[in-house]
């Protein structure tokens, strides 16, 4: 892991095991399938729900600064804590959580490489059903890094040139053969992709055990699809969770300076009036 541009934001499952229960370290599980945490999780891990806690469904937006602050206070995370995130589906929503923590300026947040599945399949790693309880904190958000997020005007601007647009969905979603993975309720009116976007599925960045590919392999992957690491880059998917995974890869493993996650993603762009798409 030391070869990456920012190796300090990635920890191994062994590191997590060695640091369980230590003061100043809070482990947080964020899953796509929220029942996984309820059945069993890393000892001491806090569970956050992406839908009800990390997002505001009424505004259709990420949790506001005040909501994020209150959530941190309630679960007992302090500003000085090292936060270790992990989750199912190779860290889809754990990466979304990472993006949100960084957006709200949390200093030390890291991702457990391989996520929940790697931990689950290692014999020396324990899971427990008991939920932890930590004293409430007085967390405060002092900076908001909106330059990590792409809102729609930025996406239009990127289409004028000088940017990389990376569509991380499956090839069938990119070509418009399907609008969303089967059974998904959040969808769009049209299938296809944002004009000019390259299709580099998020899953091509991980190995068989769910850990990230080597720096060399990642460079080759994105380079072969025409991504210029010197240019500002926007990643998107369907609702912004898989693209958080790619945002993490581009910004912290490959060291691309200006990378934004377009969390509106295809469920916003695919529904716009008057916006052209490609198939």
């Amino acid at each position: 892991m030391s070869e990456y541009a920012h190796p300090e934001v990635l920890v191994s499952t062994d590191w997590v095991k060695e640091n369980l229960g230590k003061d100043g370290i809070k482990i947080v599980e964020i899953d796509v399938d929220t029942q996984q945490y309820d059945v069993g999780h890393v000892p001491g891990a806090i569970g956050l729900n992406w839908e009800t806690q990390l997002q505001n469904q009424v505004r259709r937006d990420i949790a506001s600064k005040e909501e994020f602050e209150q959530m941190m206070r309630d679960v007992g995370i302090s500003n000085d804590d090292t936060v270790i995130l992990y989750g199912d589906n190779n860290n889809w929503f754990a990466a979304y959580g990472f993006w949100l923590f960084k957006l709200y300026g949390h200093k030390d947040v890291r991702l457990m490489n391989g996520g929940r599945n790697k931990w689950l399949n290692e014999d020396d790693k324990e899971l427990v059903a008991e939920r932890p309880s930590y004293a409430a904190s007085n967390y405060t958000v002092s900076e908001v890094n909106n330059d990590l997020r792409a809102l729609l005007p930025k996406v239009f601007e990127a289409q004028q040139g000088g940017h990389n647009l990376v569509d991380v969905r499956s090839p069938d979603e990119y070509t418009g053969k399907v609008i969303a993975p089967p059974g998904m309720s959040e969808t769009a009116q049209r299938g296809g992709h944002i004009p000019g976007a390259a299709n580099i599925p998020w899953s091509t960045t991980v190995q068989g055990d769910g850990t990230f590919k080597s720096l060399g392999d990642l460079k080759e992957l994105y380079g072969s699809k025409g991504v210029d690491f010197a240019k500002p880059t926007i990643a998107y998917c369907r609702i912004g969770e898989r693209s958080s995974h790619t945002w993490f890869v581009l910004k912290y493993l490959l060291g691309v300076k200006d990378v934004r996650n377009y969390d509106g993603s295809w469920t916003e762009y695919g529904n716009l009036i008057g916006a052209g798409i490609e198939k």
Partner: protein, 325 residues
């Protein structure tokens, strides 16, 4: 126990063995090649309704023998239905609890049957965007129960447990050999956990290396419960491609239309996986012209009524009074 009079002291005496095999029945009207005999092995005749009775009994017996089960510690298992139904039925009859984890796409009939057989049921979201290392949601949740609540659950894990394969080496293979008097030339199965194909092929090829083994797989993006496309097989440690002569990929919609044809022409109320196997067998029979084929018909159509209506909507026509509102 008396297999002649069929009087049994417990349901477990009815489980299939070489002395009490599930029947094989010849295909007559739908056989495309008169010189290619086709027999279907009707696994729904097993007491809990499917081929999975064999693996389930093998897994349960092993757990009992190792002292892993008690009134307080039951079974947790991921299932597309049949293994869970067999395990739950057997476990309930022996005083153990069962928790089954199923993908959402499993038909409602199977979900309700699991509950009727005494299982607790967890339903997980289907795989959304598969990737290496992600595993299968139902397997992951079952492993989580087994790891986080060891005093309450043990997971036999049909995808990795050799007792699944051994069940077919011990029963299905010898039954087929005896029933066909060793004349079988072609075996047709599907792929799921791969216990059936690996066990039957191991036994039959030991007896006669010339026997050809054909596995059918539904086309990608399929909707045939219990089956896996080869691209989905990394979850099974029991898949051994060396034992399979050919894997036939078949349009999954044919699973449903062929199953209906078997109902309406042969009197065989076979489920969609049997329909898919039957289509594969017909293709090989038409190609090879001569042979003695046996098809493993995993279960009956009764558990798939909602799926049949979904894929053949005209089946629901005329099922309500003409003026019903």
């Amino acid at each position: 126990m008396n297999h002649q009079t069929r009087v049994y002291e417990s349901v477990f005496e009815m489980l299939p063995t070489e002395e009490n095999p599930s029947p094989i029945v010849r295909i007559n009207r739908l056989n495309p090649e008169p010189d290619f005999r086709m027999y279907a092995k009707l696994e729904w005749q097993n007491p809990f309704g499917s081929v999975k009775d064999r693996a389930a009994w093998s897994l349960l017996s092993d757990l009992e023998a190792r002292g892993e089960l008690s009134a307080e510690r039951g079974i947790v298992e991921p299932t597309s239905g049949n293994t869970g139904i067999s395990l739950a039925g057997m476990a309930s009859a022996r005083g153990y609890k069962t928790r089954t984890i199923v993908p959402n796409k499993v038909p409602m009939e199977k979900k309700v049957m699991l509950k009727m057989a005494g299982a607790d049921l967890d339903v997980v979201t289907d795989d959304l965007c598969p990737s290496p290392g992600m595993g299968d949601g139902s397997i992951n949740l079952a492993k989580t129960y087994a790891k986080s609540q060891k005093s309450r659950y043990v997971m036999p894990n049909q995808y990795e447990n050799e007792h699944n394969v051994n069940a077919h080496i011990r029963t299905t293979g010898p039954e087929i050999r005896r029933q066909t008097e060793g004349k079988i030339t072609h075996l047709f199965t599907s792929l799921g956990t791969c216990g059936t194909v690996t066990g039957c092929a191991t036994y039959l090829k030991e007896q006669n290396p010339d026997i050809k083994v054909y596995a059918v797989q539904p086309s990608e993006g399929h909707d045939v419960p219990g089956l896996r496309n080869v691209s989905q097989l990394d979850v099974s440690k029991l898949f051994n491609p060396d034992l399979i002569d050919e894997i036939l990929e078949i349009d999954f919609e044919l699973a449903y239309t062929r199953a209906l044809e078997l109902c309406q022409n042969e009197g065989l109320f076979a489920g969609p996986s049997s329909g898919l196997i039957f289509e594969g067998a017909c293709q090989i029979a038409s190609r090879d012209k001569n042979g003695f084929g046996v098809m493993i018909f995993c279960d009956s159509i009764f558990k798939y009524v909602s799926n049949m209506v979904k894929h053949i909507p005209e089946l629901s026509e005329g099922t309500t009074p003409p003026n019903a509102k």
